[in-house]
């Protein structure tokens, strides 16, 4: 089926820092019968905080180049990262809007780089694909009940907002990923500051860590067994972040952090030892114990 084939857009952080997330995504997609293709022509999406902050024009041009690569391959894009998702989605939106003739300018620059762009490529976050999938199909791939595992979902800002452009879910009261983890037999917990930012992009590191710490405290207060993220930047902020929080803020948390694709791979019965989870800074063992591994 054509709609089940994607060109995998890996970005930077997942393949080059947290490849265990890529592995879980590849395995879980294969288990669902989603086929993934690759391209060696992609670059950084580019990163939507600092690259966008330095030059909107260059940010847009590089994003358009990646979209043009996908167009050449004739395929829709699949991202595992909120940064890649928001950059590529917003860039398509800006080009379609074509305010002040920006599209013509980008098309001209792209053609000097050897690419053509018409705007055909659609961009999908893996969370969208999973939430949009038929329940029976998800259940058919999930061999293992998660036994009411209490999951603190952290969607990440750039999966939810700006909602009129990204179009994933309600920007303040999301429901879709909640429904998805319920299907897997986990229990999403509501906690204070549910759709707040992880703090990753804030320059002042103490303030940034305080933002993450506030969320972790709220999650623990609701007895969450783990944090489930949809983005490698949020992942790093919560996982490595807990080590930094302990060192810089003197507050100790031990809440395992996993990507939604890792939760899915576990639910599909992939052996935890085959998923490279030992690279996480916060030990995953308590989470595995909860699901009988």
């Amino acid at each position: 089926m054509a709609e089940d084939a994607y060109l995998l857009f890996l970005g930077c952080m997942i393949p080059l820092r947290h490849p265990q997330i890529e592995l879980a995504a590849r395995k879980s997609m294969e288990n669902l019968g989603v086929s993934l293709r690759e391209s060696s022509e992609f670059t950084c999406c580019p990163e939507p905080w600092n690259m966008k902050a330095s030059s909107l024009e260059k940010w847009l041009l590089i994003a358009a180049r990646n979209l043009a690569v996908a167009e050449k391959e004739g395929s829709q894009l699949l991202t595992l990262c909120n940064g890649c998702f928001s950059t590529l989605t917003e860039a398509s939106h800006l080009l379609a809007q074509n305010k002040g003739g920006i599209k013509e300018k980008v098309v001209k620059d792209l053609s000097s780089m050897g690419f053509s762009y018409s705007g055909k490529t659609s961009v999908h976050h893996v969370a969208q694909v999973l939430c949009g999938m038929e329940e029976k199909r998800v259940l058919a791939s999930a061999k293992k009940e998660l036994g009411g595992l209490k999951v603190a979902l952290h969607h990440g800002c750039h999966l939810l907002r700006p909602s009129e452009i990204l179009g994933f879910d309600d920007p303040f009261e999301p429901r879709l990923l909640e429904e998805f983890v319920r299907r897997l037999g986990a229990e999403p917990v509501a906690y204070r500051g549910y759709t707040d930012c992880c703090g990753r992009a804030t320059l002042n590191r103490d303030a940034s860590l305080e933002m993450a710490e506030q969320k972790l405290s709220a999650m623990e207060k609701e007895d969450a067994d783990c944090v489930v993220v949809a983005c490698p930047a949020c992942f790093e902020q919560f996982d490595l972040g807990q080590v930094e929080i302990s060192r810089r803020l003197g507050k100790n948390h031990q809440l395992p952090v996993i990507h939604i694709c890792q939760l899915l791979a576990l639910a599909q019965g992939e052996p935890p030892e085959s998923l490279g989870l030992e690279r996480h800074k916060i030990a995953i063992k308590p989470l595995l114990a909860k699901i009988g591994e």
């Binding site: 600092n50 024009e57 703090g199």
Partner: protein
């Protein structure tokens, strides 16, 4: 004395069509849930928008400007009843600040890395080994050749 630059708002339109900034009626909906405003009393998205509009924003584009504390959470974008999109105004200010050479070091080095390597992370031998151990293929990004003239509008 604060210098007023009536042309400042026009600078904004060079990097983005931020004309909607004029529709701000100062309601502070953008401030209520701003995580940066909560932690830095000198960071206030409403004041940033109004200063930009009134042309008293030169201090916001200087080195060590408070604009870099924006978490880019886009809550202000969603909450603004006037579609001003304060986060976009702040991004436009960051572009102006970067072009003037006033951006934090981390931003400049990331910008350089993307243009030179097509990536924010250099593919080390260690990571390729880790990938191989996980059964993943070697990974690298394509080389970028961004035309020199591109991005002139914002710089």
């Amino acid at each position: 004395m604060t210098k007023v630059n009536p042309q400042f708002a026009k600078k904004m339109s060079q990097v983005e069509s931020a004309l909607d900034v004029r529709y701000c009626f100062g309601c502070s909906a953008c401030v209520a849930e701003c995580p940066a405003a909560l932690r830095f009393k000198e960071f206030n998205p409403r004041e940033i928008v109004i200063s930009t509009l009134l042309g008293v924003a030169e201090n916001l584009i200087e080195a060590d400007s408070v604009i870099w504390q924006c978490a880019t959470c886009y809550k202000c974008y969603e909450r603004c009843p006037q579609n001003v999109h304060p986060v976009d105004v702040i991004t436009a200010l960051k572009n102006i600040s970067f072009a003037a050479g006033n951006a934090p070091e981390g931003v400049s080095s990331l910008h350089k890395a993307v243009l030179e390597n097509g990536s924010i992370i250099a593919p080390s031998e260690a990571i390729q080994k880790r990938r191989a151990k996980l059964g993943l293929p070697a990974f690298s990004h394509a080389t970028l050749h961004v035309p020199e003239a591109s991005g002139k509008g914002g710089e």
